[in-house]
Structures are given as C-alpha cells and as structure tokens.
Symmetry: C2
Subunit: 228 residues, 2 copies
Amino acid sequence: MTEVAGTPQDTAEGSKSQRAYTAVTARIVDGTYPPGHRLVLAAIAQDLGVSVVPVREAIRRLEAEGLVTFQRNVGATVAGIDPTEYLYTMQTLSLVEGAATALSAPLIGPEDIVRARAVNEEMRTCLEHFDPVRFTRLNQDFHAILFEHCPNPHILDLVHRGWNRLASLRSSTFRFVPGRARASVEEHDALLVLIEAGADADAIERSARAHRSATLDAYLAHAQDTRP
Amino acid sequence: MTEVAGTPQDTAEGSKSQRAYTAVTARIVDGTYPPGHRLVLAAIAQDLGVSVVPVREAIRRLEAEGLVTFQRNVGATVAGIDPTEYLYTMQTLSLVEGAATALSAPLIGPEDIVRARAVNEEMRTCLEHFDPVRFTRLNQDFHAILFEHCPNPHILDLVHRGWNRLASLRSSTFRFVPGRARASVEEHDALLVLIEAGADADAIERSARAHRSATLDAYLAHAQDTRP
DNA sequence: TGCCTACCCTTCGTATACGATTTGGTACTC
DNA sequence: GAGTACCAAATCGTATACGAAGGGTAGGCA
C-alpha cells in the first residue's frame, strides 16, 4: 500500500534496506549523528518513511563495518573514538592504505599526479589560517587520488572502511596536533616524487605507511603530554 | 580463549540472529553449504526453528564479510572462489596476516613456540602420505598460534575473515601444488627462528608476508602452466 | 535523608502476513 | 522446430503486531 508504483524522482536505490544504509551512513559520516548518538530504530524508520525491518538490516551492516556498536536489547550507538580505538584504526589504516597506495602506484597517471599536487598545494595554503576540518578533507582527497586505482577491491574496501571510521571525528589528529600538518604536507610531496619516479612497490608502501604512522605517533605523543 | 565454559546454558547464543549467523557460518566453513549453494531463507529458517527475520540478518552479516553474495529479489549464494577472487583474498591475507604475526611476535611465549613447532612437525610427517585437507588444517593451526596474540583486534578480525573466505575451498593451494607444501614447512621453521630470536617487527612481517605470497605465486605459476 | 524496591515506559526481538519480483515451464505461433 | 509470450510457483521485501528485556522514576522503608 505504501509502495506507490512510480516515485521515479527520489533517490531510491531499489531496496529500502539499501536506502536506509546509505542514509544512516551519510548521517554518521557528516556528523548529523555524532559519536555516542543513540540510533533508535523506530525513529529512523519513521524518519525515512519505512518500517523498522529494513533499518535493522542497515544497522547490522554498519555494525559489521564497525561504524556502530550494538548491544542486545539495548540498541545501537554511533561508534565513538576512544583513544584506543583510534590507535587500532590508524594502525590498520596505515597497513591497508600503504598497501593500496603501493598497488595503485603503477596505475597512477601524470594527470593524477597533477591533481594530487594541486590538492597538496591547497593544503599548504590552508596552513596559514588553519582549519582542521578543511585540512582533513583535503587530506582525504589527496590520499584518495593515490589509492583509488588499487586493483585489489578487498584492500580498497578496507581502506574505505578505515576512512569511514575516522570520519566520525570530524577533524582527525590535526585538530590536536596542528604541528603535524606541516610535516604531513612535506611528506605528501616526497610520496609523489617516489610515485612519479616509478619507485618499487615496497618503497612506496613503506613511505605511505610511515606517513600515516607518523600522524598516529604525533597524536600519541600529544596525548602523553596532556593526559598525565 | 574467548569461549569460556562458564555459560552452561543451551546452545543458544542469546539472540536467534546470532544463532543463525553461527550456524550458517559453520555450515559454509565445514562445507555443508558448498560454494555456489543457494541459501534459501525459508528453508534455513525452518531448519533452525526460527522465522526468516533473524536469518535475513545473519545473511546480511555474512554478505558484509564476503562469505556470501547477494542479489536483490533473487537471494544469497555461498561465495565461490574464482581464481581472481582467490588472488585478491590471498594478497589481502598476506598483508594482514604478516602484520598480525609481527604484532603478535613480542607476545609469543616459549610454550607457544613449542606448540607451533609440534604442529609443524606434524605437517612434516604429513608430507609422506600427503593429504591436502589435513595439511591445510594443520597449516591454519600453525599460523593461528602465531597471530592470535595480535593486540590489534581490527587486524586480527581481518585475518580471521580472510581465513574464513579461504575455508570455502576445502584444501587450499596445496591440493594443486603439492610441491609447495615442503617449502612451506621449511619456511615455517625459519619464521619460528626469527620470532624466537626476537627479530624486529619488520623482519617478521616481511617473512610472514613472503611466506604467504610464495604460496600464491606457486598457485599462479601452476595456473599458468595448466590453463593455456 | 538515603537507599532500596516496584512499577512503567521505552525500545528491542521475532513471528506472521501479504504484496512484489523473478524464474522456469508450457503453450502457441511463425 | 525454434522462438516468444504468458502463466504459475517459488522466493524475496517490507509492514505490522506482540511479547520481552532494560532503564528510569517515584514511592516507601530504614
């Protein structure tokens, strides 16, 4: 009865499960649902104009991806980023992103390099009046250019999942450790040089991984300084 | 480890979704549902004595993990392993397992080494009257000892997922390339020596990764020989 | 006054029901 | 005999309904 044959204008991705998944994911990533936010099935269902069943399935998928945590008979909440979780996620991301970048490298064309360099320049100018959110977004754009050609879809998927997890905290490490931003831009340049020169996969992987590990280390050092 | 015998209640893991997930996963891994097998919701539900709703959720989770493929309005089938998929999975596994092993290494005690060595000896004797299925099982046991201490749960989870994917093909590469089995046992010994000696993480990671990559390469070479 | 208990309300978990879609077979036509 | 169109069975997708589990609050008792 609710299924009006037609509705060709809305962004219906076919199944309502899928739509629910897309919608909730978007809201988590864009911050509408902040970390810790309680995801009430009925509320989301009503909001999307569907029943709870598709929403449940969407939540399950998000759970499997680690974007929400779930407790039986209690419900789902948007996964927070306690420091430990941040460490795990960054460590995993350094691993898979490093590999993805190395695997991509031979497939990265000159035009990609140009684009990446442009983004990095934008980041450099962004250093002046520093905006962590904007900087983080550019950072993601930069790396996306480098790893999106990864021919192994599993690894690429893992990279995306890692970035999604981090998306919960809107601004990443750079909010806490602005000093890291400048070094990051430099390392981007070095990484591009390596790729451009056709360095072997191992060198690129090491460089990309070290780049991310350094960000993690900066955060840890910062936490060490401020916490105890 | 995680299965503490303190819950003597019935086999129910609490929720029926969970039970369905566990049951279906087990049947895929143990080969009751072979690759390509069609998973009919109603049939599984009746078999488990529940309704279709929990089964649907279980299938969704399996889909997110890549163990089943799903087609809207058609249904789920157990994910097969076409050679391309095998390549991707092995490549990913070499990555995450290498890292997991390296991260575990400092936490591996002498008694673990003893156990691992025993398993490897069993594999060595197994070489005589070669049984691919048994050998593959021992191989998994061996590696499990080495990576289970991995302190990063994300990476550990990825390793488990990789192994689960491979479990679909009951006997792995060793069925096709029995010659690889002998080399594999040797490399296991070398890996144990490294860990025992407290080698640095990078060396261990390389060694573990190369070990798995070599298996993949052996398969690819074999495929090259027989296919064209 | 402070703590404990009992109740209620919110929210989840699962079953059942029904509409929607695909698929495979069969009959009809060219 | 081959191709196409149609029909029926199987199966999926989603809505609704109801029972169950948790958490919060008010009231009573020490």
